[in-house]
């Protein structure tokens, strides 16, 4: 069991180290979310609706679209020079490989989500001071559920000819629960309601995330197998 978690940490550590040195994905995703927020400013008629009122939905959509950009490239590096086959050939179990990838993706995307929230707070004067703790918790739960499912499907799309183009088609129909309950909880908290108001939605978000993680751990083996 200890070896398993060492493997998870090794994979996550490798990915984060590569990311830290190249900063490719973080730079692309970061620029993406800032520019998307910028475009939203022009897409929303500010005399008719104040962006603050729909900020929760916009933040989640920006996070998902930006995250998609990075998730699609989860196995990009491994595709070169048969690195993926090498990784599979190591004594590392597929489950550890999956969880390691989820971990690194989640950490990177958490950073991007934090950036998204800050950008929205600055651009659209969204007030975050009401419930910063629970808000961060809801967003982190959402990010984890998203990467748990996204990493699994990214493993699939990496093995197809269509590649990343296929990812949203597979992923988006399944993200409906995440968006519905995530946006609702976020909007409730931003409106200043206490965290006890969102216990029900929080439970479903947790169920989604656990289900996604379990599905990933159980099925990733069949994706990497030759």
């Amino acid at each position: 069991m200890r070896r398993f978690w060492i493997g998870v940490a090794a994979i996550a550590g490798k990915d984060l180290r590569v990311e830290l040195r190249t900063r490719e994905r973080i730079a692309a995703m970061g620029a993406f979310v800032v520019l998307t927020a910028l475009l939203f400013n022009y897409a929303v008629d500010r005399t008719a609706v104040h962006p603050r009122e729909i900020a929760a939905g916009l933040i989640w959509m920006t996070m998902l679209l930006g995250g998609l950009l990075g998730l699609g490239r989860t196995f990009e590096l491994e595709k070169e020079d048969g690195a993926f086959e090498g990784l599979v050939a190591t004594p590392l179990s597929p489950e550890a490989l999956y969880l390691g990838k989820v971990l690194s993706n989640t950490l990177i995307l958490t950073l991007i989500t934090a950036l998204t929230v800050v950008v929205f707070a600055i651009f659209f004067q969204v007030d975050l001071s009401g419930n910063p703790g629970p808000l961060a918790g809801v967003l982190f739960l959402g990010v984890t559920g998203f990467t748990a499912l996204g990493t699994l499907f990214s493993g699939i799309t990496a093995g197809t000819r269509m590649g990343e183009t296929l990812l949203p088609i597979l992923l988006f129909p399944l993200l409906v629960p995440l968006v519905t309950f995530g946006v609702s909880a976020t909007a409730t908290l931003m409106a200043g309601f206490p965290a006890t108001e969102i216990l029900g939605t929080l439970r479903i978000l947790t169920a989604f995330t656990l289900l996604a993680l379990m599905a990933g751990v159980g099925l990733f083996r069949f994706i990497v197998e030759e």
Binding site: I156, T160, R161, P177, A215, L219, E225
Partner: protein
């Protein structure tokens, strides 16, 4: 089950199903009483509801066969999953076309975020993803495994998606939705509905068996071609 049995079962179910389909269309057009509040358009219901029932039944079959395929690796089970998914896609499309046609007159709009309609649309996209994954891998075995994973994860997620579309709707009340369901159905309406359900269930299983048999023939033929090719190559160059 031998292929011959499969084909015979397919023909029998298909003949019965088509016969009953003709019967229920006669019932729908000439026999069943017109619903009082919605009028003639309510008759679409008799093809809409059986379509939805099959769409979800097929998805269940896809998920179970996919899980068994990943577990045992038997190609036959994968062919069954694919056949069910094809049928499911057809009937989901029927639901998605008949629903808005009815909605335009009954609700006054082509589309509302009615939970069941939304769920069916998402189901349709999951089916589409299932086939896109299957057909876009260079290695056929891998495509089957990928598709199986998509089928299983999709099915696991359906209850949660169902919850969210239900919940979402309760937050956003729609114009009053009159629905002809419920136990207080006219007995003739119930008869028509049950005939339609039976008819299309039979048609679905007939299509399912035919597609399954076709897939088995295809793979048998591929295997023969492969053996021939390797034999032909073996005559000239000895294969190590």
């Amino acid at each position: 089950m031998s292929l011959r049995t499969v084909r015979w079962a397919g023909v029998t179910l298909g003949a019965l199903g088509v016969g009953l389909t003709l019967l229920f269309h006669w019932q729908v057009f000439f026999w069943v009483p017109t619903e009082a509040s919605m009028g003639i358009v309510q008759r679409i219901f008799y093809i809409h509801l059986p379509g939805a029932w099959i769409a979800f039944l097929a998805f269940g079959i896809v998920a179970i066969c996919s899980a068994v395929y990943l577990w045992l690796g038997d190609d036959k089970v994968d062919q069954a999953a694919r056949a069910a998914a094809e049928g499911g896609l057809i009937f989901t499309t029927i639901v998605l076309t008949s629903g808005p046609l009815w909605g335009k007159i009954a609700w006054g709009t082509w589309w509302t975020w009615e939970p069941r309609l939304t769920l069916t649309l998402l189901l349709w996209f999951i089916y589409v993803g299932y086939f896109m994954v299957r057909n876009s891998t260079d290695n056929a075995e891998r495509g089957k495994r990928f598709a199986a994973v998509v089928g299983i994860v999709g099915a696991l997620n359906i209850p949660l998606i169902h919850m969210s579309v239900q919940w979402f709707r309760s937050l956003h009340p729609q114009p009053v939705v009159a629905r002809p369901d419920g136990p207080n159905l006219h007995p003739d309406m119930l008869t028509t509905l049950l005939t339609a359900l039976l008819a299309w269930t039979l048609v679905f299983f007939s299509l399912f068996l035919f597609r399954y048999a076709a897939a088995r023939l295809e793979s048998a033929e591929e295997l023969r071609a492969l053996t021939r090719a390797s034999k032909a190559a073996g005559d000239e160059v000895p294969v190590p």
